[in-house]
């Protein structure tokens, strides 16, 4: 299939969607959390306002940092939007949909994580280094869990093409097999860890010594911080969107017609909204696990992935 104009429009739409839906999802999650705790909470739009405020501030960077520090937020945002453009979020027929592999998308996202990690190390401060080392530890354990989960899902369908993986759920009823459910649970735990949510990391903490992700970005300020926040939130909705479409594929546009795209956009927004609310509800009731329990949690996710592979092979 050659790149089409429709596919291009769809990809552009998805790209813009993650940039807008990211901050809104953050706002929604904070709002849900506040209400569950009995507080009023800030408006859902607050993260967008924060971005506007940050982007107008003066740019300050640590004196001894290099281009690595400056480039990291840009790479982070770029990796998120590139991954979003080619993923089945709004439609199954985005640009290059037939060629895009699940593993490729994850590794594009990983580029953002690694650049942020390098940016943190580039500052040479104790906190950023501490955050980077913890993030590397978590990352090293998230990747195997993610890969095994993908392998498990791929075995059932016979391909790791992302659009096919999502599409198979729309057209057939093979969706609810044990292999797929186990793989999705494993995938979800890995997403929580990768995006720095509870119980792995507390995005709301001000305790610098407990931070993982927040410690890494402690030196970013102003427009750089705006980019980091934007990139992180875009990544969050992209991963939640992939999860939502893999778990509940219905409503995703099959083609690139205007009506189909609008429908797909609504569908993915609602689904991601629901997943985000579910994550918030979960976060309110849980707590942050001890740092050295994170490997146990992620080993559990990995194990679920392995079980999923076994059941996929056994049930074939």
């Amino acid at each position: 299939m050659t790149p089409s104009i429709g596919g291009g429009v769809a990809s552009a739409l998805q790209l813009l969607w993650v940039l807008l839906a990211g901050p809104l999802a953050l706002g929604l999650m904070r709002k849900v959390r506040s209400r569950l705790e009995g507080r009023e909470g800030a408006s859902v739009l607050q993260p967008l306002r924060d971005l506007r405020k940050l982007s107008t501030k003066q740019r300050t960077r640590p004196t001894d940092s290099t281009w690595v520090f400056a480039a990291a937020p840009v790479v982070l945002v770029a990796s998120a939007v590139v991954a979003a453009a080619f993923s089945p979020l709004v439609t199954l027929s985005a640009l290059l949909a037939t060629r895009v592999d699940f593993v490729a998308i994850l590794f594009v996202l990983l580029l953002g994580s690694v650049s942020l990690l390098l940016g943190a190390l580039d500052t040479g401060t104790a906190f950023a280094g501490m955050g980077a080392s913890r993030a590397a530890m978590v990352g090293a354990m998230v990747e195997p869990a993610l890969l095994v989960a993908i392998l498990a899902m791929s075995l059932g369908v016979g391909t790791s093409n992302l659009s096919r993986l999502v599409g198979v759920g729309v057209t057939t009823s093979t969706l609810a097999g044990p292999a797929r459910i186990l793989a999705l649970v494993s995938f979800f735990i890995a997403i929580l860890a990768e995006t720095g949510r509870l119980p792995v990391d507390n995005p709301a903490t001000h305790l610098e010594l407990t931070m993982i992700h927040e410690a890494m970005v402690l030196e970013y300020a102003g427009p750089d911080l705006a980019l980091v926040t934007l990139g992180e939130s875009a990544r969050l909705v992209l991963l939640l969107g992939l999860f939502a479409n893999l778990a509940l594929p219905w409503g995703i546009a099959l083609g690139t017609g205007a009506l189909a795209l609008v429908g797909g956009l609504l569908a993915v927004s609602i689904k991601v909204g629901l997943v985000a609310v579910a994550v918030s509800v979960f976060e309110v009731t849980t707590a942050k696990i001890r740092l050295f329990r994170i490997p146990e949690l992620l080993a559990g996710a990995f194990l679920l992935g392995v079980l999923s592979v076994i059941s996929a092979v056994a049930l074939r």
Partner: protein, 495 residues
Amino acid sequence: MNLEDVLSQRPARAHLDLEPRDLLDAARGLFEAGFHLGSVTACEDDDDLRVVYLFVDGPPDQRVEVHVRLDARNPEVPSLAAVSFPAGRFEREMADLFGVVALGHPQPRPLVTHQHWPAGWHPMRREAARAPFDLDAAPFPFNPVEGEGVYEIPVGPVHAGIIEPGHFRFWVVGETIIKMKARLWFTHKGVEKLFEGRDVGEALPLAERISGDSAIGHSLAFVLAAEDALGVAPSAHAMRERAILLELERLYNHVADLGALCNDTAFSLAQARAMTLRETLLRLNDRVTGHRLLRGALGLATTSLRDLPRRDELASIAERVNDVVALANANSIVMDRFRGTGVLARADAIDVGVLGVVARASGIARDARDAHPFVTTRAYSIVTEETGDVLARFRVREREIAVSLAMIDELLTGGEMVTLPRSARGTGTGIVEGWRGAITHRVEFDASERLTRVKVVDPSFVTWPALAVALANTIVPDFPLVNKSFNLSYAGNDL
């Protein structure tokens, strides 16, 4: 009275004048007899310096003052650091603020003063003029820990959250803390000097502001000391109201700590509930005293309350505390974070000389409400836990809230006033179990009833060093939780 009489007769109040050379033996005798060091105070008289060691024990309430006169030009005392760790801390403080040298001290380095303080300038001395501060005049480095893979993390004094300033230096391998040093006294403001020349009425607002969360603890310790020195006796009614205020202060702080401990494990639901309960308690404080932090209710021999807590209010508070605790208990991750974290062994706690919640969580049954009571109630019982971890400190607070509520309930109609014996005319001591632990004030007045010297000891001063001990084998991300479970005051320590 001499030392032998004191040790055999155990009078409620005693005063000993000793030569410096007899100090160490006397201190040994008193420590062996079960006394603890309440405070060490240097006082400047017209022609010489005097160091006052306050030894306390109880129950029954006993206080022994040991006075040692020194040559003001060359003030030297033998160090007690070898027999008492807190004594070593007091001596370092005294060396910085008064220039009194503790001979044979194992750590003869500044404690209060930072590197930019002029050498040889002792701000509490009468002749101390305003000294020009030369920033970074002398470096004051940490003893580094060296070795393969040792990593140094400096934290503070400015923190990401809105808390008081303190600098913490960690040496870690991986995430395990090898050593931690706390450098405090960033908020040293010369509170003790500010007391000088004030009368009781002028001094009370200052005492209330020594540590904002212990307005009653410090002002009550001060006013008890002042009443002791001036020979004034409050009514039993006033004393009972003071006991109510002290427990109200414990309530709102302990409730806040229960929530904050949960919050440090990111369990913010319990924190949100605890904070709304704290707000209820602050409004109750406001109704009772006209101030949310209980300021302005105490006076010399008097207490002025606008209202009293109602019994049904106390019951509903108890219920809401139970809700918060039940939330925490039901969360296995929170319990896992608390259990076995930041253990302060009983032996270490005794060696460091810790006070209050921290001591009782390590199995030490010390409480000024028990040892130095000014009101007794049937509802009071001392609360101890054995494990010395974060969970034990959580449990001590949880159970003390229940005791406090029962005490307030009883104090509304009952409670027995204890008639406190007098110290020597013009001097007085006040010991009160604030919510952190025992707060000790020692005051001296001149003939016109103006203060010449106030020594303030917040329990934080003696308890801070134990934090580093409790961190052995703890991982860096658990430090905030351990620190919160101690919840020591910076303002009360730095003075």
